[in-house]
Amino acid sequence: MEVRLEKKGIIEFKDDKVFTWPTLVAKEFLAAIFVTVGLLFYSYFVDAPLRELSNPGQAENPAKAPWYFLGLQEALVYFDPWYAGVVLPSIIILGLILIPYLDNNPKGNGYYTFRERKFAVTTFVFGYIFWYVLIYIGTALRGPFWAFFWPWEKWTHDFPTPPPLHDLPLPLGIVLMGGFYFAGLTLPALVKRDFFMKLGVIRYSLTMGLLLTMIGTVIKMVFRLAFNVKYIIATPWINI
């Protein structure tokens, strides 16, 4: 609200509030109508899928989770199920919940801006896009036995045998991963001191921990694709 002294000397109150009826309600009704018409229209022409009666003895190939979980299923190519199916989604949910408490940048509250929150927007948009890229690959590019097919290729059962995978030697794996988190936590704190100071130790460690885990997940995928690495760290108890 802004108070202005007009020429006549009368104090006039100016605020940007408008009546909800009809300004907002009309738009909501319109949106509701569009959604309804759109859904009914689509439903009239496109049938919901229904396959044969379920048969525990005959697995679908490929057996796919619903599309919104296919990013996680795609991650199974690169990680063991405990990570791809349980720990990774838990970290994502936890990370999302923590966002408001980690991002203490007071700017950019309530309006669109990239300039005032470059780090936050870049990180989030990257993760968001990455999630959907994995979903796209899992949905459209994975055929029988989860083999990879380009969109223009036909899904067949005889695809070339994938090259054999190997694990990194355990000491190397530990050094790589430990070094990655160590460098990732210390270097930015040293190079961008004000970033570190603004966040404080706890916020900084959590933010960077989550960010490094996201980047690390991508790096592991690259390792696998480029160097046929199965596990960075392979132990009898747990593999990463």
Partner: protein
């Protein structure tokens, strides 16, 4: 022609009409406000809102659409419940009946199915918009948390519904999904460190989810009860909190 105004006066100027509709429709600021605050459904809104909050280019209307699709799914879902029995010997046949026998059954099932997909999309886009406008910043941190839980519930709502047709698609999708639970560290029998707690196929988290070691009648019933009762009730409760907090946190966020 005084007929129509006379008629309108006859209809509206009496005790019965006035007992239902408390105020007239003459376009006055007072009536505009009353239109919202004297209506139980509309008074979810304040009588006045900041102008930028009504702009589609600001909210993309995505939270509202998510809520609307939730209502849409509730109605089509209730109608589907008249025809569907979560019994492994009947479920699939009931869906086939819906597709080929029940009048408008196919239309009903299709719209419920596509609505579910649409809701997953709109809720993700809503989150994206809330992030881009920085609307999770003080004082709205907690509402973001409520939102994240709603996001997860939306996924689970859709996921539990996937099994109900009891066809190959749903069966194997749920197989893939719930097999992940086997690998839960400590709590799944194939997960790391599960030996510490003595996890076996018949006592781990997956067993708790499915009510058995494989997807069978108990799993179908569980999916049904979660899908039709438990999750919708929890999600509705959280949506009340969500909308309440949007207002208590000062309405739609905006530049100060």
């Amino acid at each position: 022609m005084k007929l129509i105004p006379d008629l309108i006066k006859k209809i509206t100027d009496n005790e019965i009409w006035k007992s239902v509709f408390r105020h007239g429709y003459t376009d006055t600021p007072r009536n505009r406000a009353l239109q919202i605050i004297s209506n139980i459904w509309l008074h979810l809104h304040p009588a006045k809102v900041r102008e930028h909050g009504t702009k589609i280019r600001f909210t993309w209307c995505m939270g509202g659409m998510t809520f609307f699709i939730f209502l849409f799914e509730t109605i089509t879902g209730i109608l589907l419940m008249f025809y569907y029995v979560p019994d492994v010997n009947r479920a699939y046949a009931d869906i086939v009946d819906l597709m080929y026998v029940v009048p408008f059954g196919r239309f009903l099932r299709n719209s419920h199915r596509w609505g579910a997909h649409a809701m997953v999309i709109t809720v993700s886009v809503h989150m994206f918009r809330v992030f881009l406008t920085g609307s999770y910043k003080p004082p709205r941190q907690f509402n973001w948390v409520v939102g994240v839980i709603l996001l997860v519930l939306t996924f689970l709502l859709s996921f539990t519904g996937y099994l109900l047709p009891w066809d190959q698609l749903g069966y194997w999708a749920i197989t893939v999904g719930t097999n992940m639970a086997r690998a839960t560290p400590f709590l799944g029998h194939e997960g790391p460190f599960s030996y510490i707690l003595g996890m076996k196929p018949d006592n781990d988290v997956r067993f708790a989810l499915l009510g058995g070691t494989s997807i069978d009648a108990p799993a179908l019933l569980r999916a049904y009860v979660w899908h039709c009762i438990a999750i919708p009730v929890i999600a509705s409760a959280l949506m009340m909190v969500h909308f309440w907090r949007v207002r208590k946190d000062g309405g739609i966020s905006g530049p100060l």
